[in-house]
């Protein structure tokens, strides 16, 4: 090992392809899809589906190997050097570039999404094959989603009120409750043969230990899409509520163990661990938007004859140049923190602290950078003729979803101080 920032060549090539995709299937539709909320980015989805299918196929192949007793971990044994893995690094670069293209459209990428990630993290091999196949086969794209938030349960997901009751007669779980703010919920349940991973309590008195996650497939009776939200930004991506009214799902649609008190219960912890894996990608998306705004600002300033004098002392910088330099610093800091948390994922090193650090930094950085970008460009920055104002609206979500900047700061604080959630509430 040595300190190294070299991105492997094949990932750079892959990123180059993603950039082409962003320029051809995202940017040209950015404004239209922002103005016509709830419209689908069909060109992008068509282009991405074959590629995403391949990614999902690999996940299923691994599950099949696990089933046949040939675990992906041990197959590297026998003295053979362990191959370096860059799955997450490659994905990070993709997410960044696609968000550079358009963050709202990027969210419509047809795959298992957060729901798929949870299944992959804690599902049995059988579950992985049974549920993830839809993202790997067929002509029609499919989406996965994750349903955690409720009107009364945001960051405090231990107060989830959606219930799951086991019906022994039919060997089914019965779900009741309402979930809100679900990215791609409509695409998953109404517009494709997708699925949603739903967090519900099997025992309200048990608190967090009672919370389990369940896989609800499209077409399940008793499941309906409620409100389709109208949002500040990322309007190309639909955010919906889902109502569960005696929705019945098979017994083995539960992720992890159904038991409330079981040592080593992977259910809640496993689902929480998917955040450690997903937060760096929210940060990566934030960085993509921030980079788009910074590049655009520099381009426009160059047209006005203003260059950024790297290396100049303070007294030789205009206020405006100083702002642009600060945008660059914030973006770089956020990028490097994110890169670190992603590399840890690839190495299999636990990264909850680093993931939250990256999320805090990137969420705040993109918010500030895009707001500055609008300001710097004067009256034109405020027009809808340009995309800067949209990037500002899009960027803000990264400081909110997958845990607000504040809740992630709290996680960082607990980690560095060695406090439990009770000691530092």
């Amino acid at each position: 090992m040595a300190i190294d920032f070299e991105i492997p060549e094949h990932l750079l090539q892959q990123a180059q392809m993603a950039k082409f995709l962003a320029e051809s299937t995202m940017r040209p539709f950015s404004r239209e899809l922002d103005e016509n909320e709830h419209q689908r980015p069909t060109a992008f989805i068509e282009q991405m589906w074959p590629f995403m299918k391949e990614l999902s196929k690999q996940a299923i192949k691994q599950a099949q190997k696990q089933l046949s007793g040939e675990s992906s971990e041990t197959s590297n044994g026998g003295g053979k050097p362990k191959r370096e893995r860059h799955d997450n690094l490659g994905l990070m670069l993709m997410v960044e570039i696609l968000s550079w293209g358009d963050a709202g459209i990027y969210l419509c990428v047809p795959w298992g999404g957060l729901g798929g990630a949870a299944i992959q993290a804690v599902g049995t091999p059988e579950q992985k094959i049974r549920f993830l196949s839809r993202f790997a086969e067929g002509d029609e794209p499919a989406w996965g989603a994750m349903a955690i938030t409720e009107p009364g349960a945001g960051s405090d997901n231990s107060s989830i009120a959606t219930t799951a009751v086991f019906d022994e007669e039919t060997n089914e779980w019965v779900l009741n409750g309402e979930k809100i703010f679900i990215t791609n919920g409509k695409l998953a349940l109404e517009e494709s043969n997708g699925l949603v991973v739903v967090w519900a309590t099997v025992d309200k008195n048990a608190g967090r230990a009672g919370i389990k996650s369940f896989i609800v497939e499209a077409g399940t009776p008793g499941v309906s899409i409620g409100k389709v939200e109208k949002k500040h930004g990322i309007r190309a991506s639909d955010t919906v509520s889902i109502v569960f009214n005696n929705a019945r799902i098979p017994a083995d649609n539960i992720l992890g163990s159904p038991e409330v008190q079981k040592p080593g219960n992977k259910g809640f912890k496993g689902a929480m661990a998917t955040f450690d894996a997903s937060r760096p990608f929210v940060a990566a998306s934030a960085i993509g938007i921030g980079r788009a705004a910074l590049e655009f600002v520099k381009e426009k300033l160059t047209e006005e004859g203003i260059e950024i004098p790297y290396g100049a002392p303070r007294h030789k910088l205009t206020a405006l140049q100083r702002d642009v330099l600060e945008m660059e610093r914030q973006l770089k800091a956020a990028y490097l923190l994110t890169l670190r948390s992603i590399v840890m994922l690839d190495q299999g090193t636990p990264n909850p602290l680093e993931a939250s650090m990256a999320k805090v930094k990137a969420g705040r950085a993109v918010t500030w950078i895009t707001q500055k970008a609008v300001e710097i460009l004067g009256p034109m920055g405020y027009t809808r003729e340009w995309l800067v104002e949209k990037w500002m609206r899009d960027g803000k979500i990264n400081d909110i979803y997958e845990g607000t900047g504040q809740i992630n700061t709290l996680i960082v604080a607990r980690r560095i101080l060695g406090y439990t959630r009770r000691e530092l509430a």
């Binding site: 040595a2 002392p313 923190l337 670190r340 650090m357 406090y419």
Partner: protein, 365 residues
């Protein structure tokens, strides 16, 4: 392949310096600051760690190789101990590293053995100038060619250990071409005079001097690198990267102290760290320190690859300038009244940290 793990050798070095920082530097830092006297024994021990000899390549008689990455790892740990003592121990590098990088064969042969001795090498560099509007690209100290020799005029400030130095590397600008070059000047050269020891806000344990160059006449052989000269931009980047690394070290010292203090200081029946207002300050400090460290590493990594790292070094340094001030100020704030008392180290870290925005050329990797 992207990795944030130092090599085994580097980790060994980090651990060694951390022990030295904790056991030796920290013990004397307060008194050295109060008396403005360098802690001679600790400086000697620090010199014996061999940081500079191991950065001099074997083919030049040294014991290792130049590595900016290793350099920033060491610089952070040294500054974590105490900035003034760290800068003292590393002052000879201000002279040695440019000679390694750009010296002619004769200059290397003649000068580098000085840095391989048991005893502290009496060499330094004069870079900063006592001006409000200091610009490294427009040094006011000039050199002019006079036949076969050079004449240097100007005033330098913040020259560490100039009084005791045998050699001073002086940066000066060609008034006509605008090119900046470095000159090897012996302390006893005619026209070179020490004006006074600088009285500073911090860094008290490191004697810094104002040095005047009044028609200092030098032979052609004094110009570092001969006719080719130096790559000033690279040296600037190396210096900025090193300073940013030291800023990370100072910030980390303050952060760790405040974190530990906040966990044991009880008010209203619980440790103050259990208040979000304090806990969030600490979280913020931790995030910013890590961010700047990564920026420093990236710049150092680029330097080692021989790529242009000017932009990365500039961004890292300017970010570090702000970060170290914020973090050390928070460090004082979290200690409350104790933060203001000189018996505790927090205020010293704030005074030392405040300087980074004003420093250039005081460190080198």
């Amino acid at each position: 392949m992207v990795s944030f793990t130092p090599t085994e050798d580097q980790q060994l070095l980090i651990d060694t310096i951390r022990r030295f920082a904790t056991n030796d530097m920290r013990n004397v830092a307060h008194d050295a600051d109060e008396t403005s006297e360098p802690p001679v024994d600790v400086v000697h021990t620090g010199w014996q760690l061999g940081l500079i000899p191991t950065a001099i390549p074997e083919e030049l008689g040294g014991f290792g190789e130049m590595s900016a990455v290793t350099g920033v790892l060491a610089a952070e740990e040294m500054a974590f101990g105490d900035l003034a003592i760290a800068m003292h121990i590393l002052t000879p590098a201000l002279f040695a590293y440019p000679v390694v990088l750009y010296g002619t064969a004769k200059q290397r042969e003649q000068l580098l053995p000085l840095f391989l001795e048991e005893d502290f090498a009496p060499a330094t560099a004069a870079f900063l100038e006592p001006a409000v509007l200091f610009d490294p690209n427009e040094l006011k100290t000039t050199f002019t060619a006079d036949g076969d020799s050079f004449v240097i005029n100007g005033v330098k400030g913040f020259v560490p250990l100039a009084e005791e130095a045998k050699y001073i590397l002086v940066y000066a600008r060609d008034a006509e071409s605008g090119r900046t070059e470095a000159f090897i000047v012996e302390r006893e050269t005619e026209g070179l005079s020490i004006v006074a020891r600088e009285k500073l806000m911090g860094l008290n344990a490191l004697p810094n001097y104002r040095v005047k160059f009044d028609n200092v006449k030098l032979p052609a052989s004094a110009k570092l690198g001969g006719p080719v000269g130096i790559d000033y931009e690279v040296l600037t980047a190396r210096s900025r990267t090193a300073l940013a690394a030291m800023a990370v070290g100072v910030a980390r010292a303050s952060y760790e102290y405040a974190r530990d203090y906040a966990k044991q200081r009880v008010q209203f029946g619980k440790p103050i760290a259990q208040n979000q207002s304090i806990a969030f300050m600490l979280a913020e400090m931790a995030i910013e320190i890590d961010a700047v460290r990564l920026m420093v590493w990236e710049a150092a990594w680029k330097l080692d690859k021989g790529e242009d790292a000017s932009k990365e070094a500039y961004l890292a340094k300017t970010y570090a300038d702000e970060m170290v001030l914020q973090v050390t100020d928070n460090g004082v704030q979290i200690l409350g009244g104790y933060g203001f008392i000189r018996e505790y180290p927090a205020e010293r870290w704030l005074r030392n940290g405040r300087g980074f925005a004003n420093f250039e050329g005081l460190a080198m990797v």
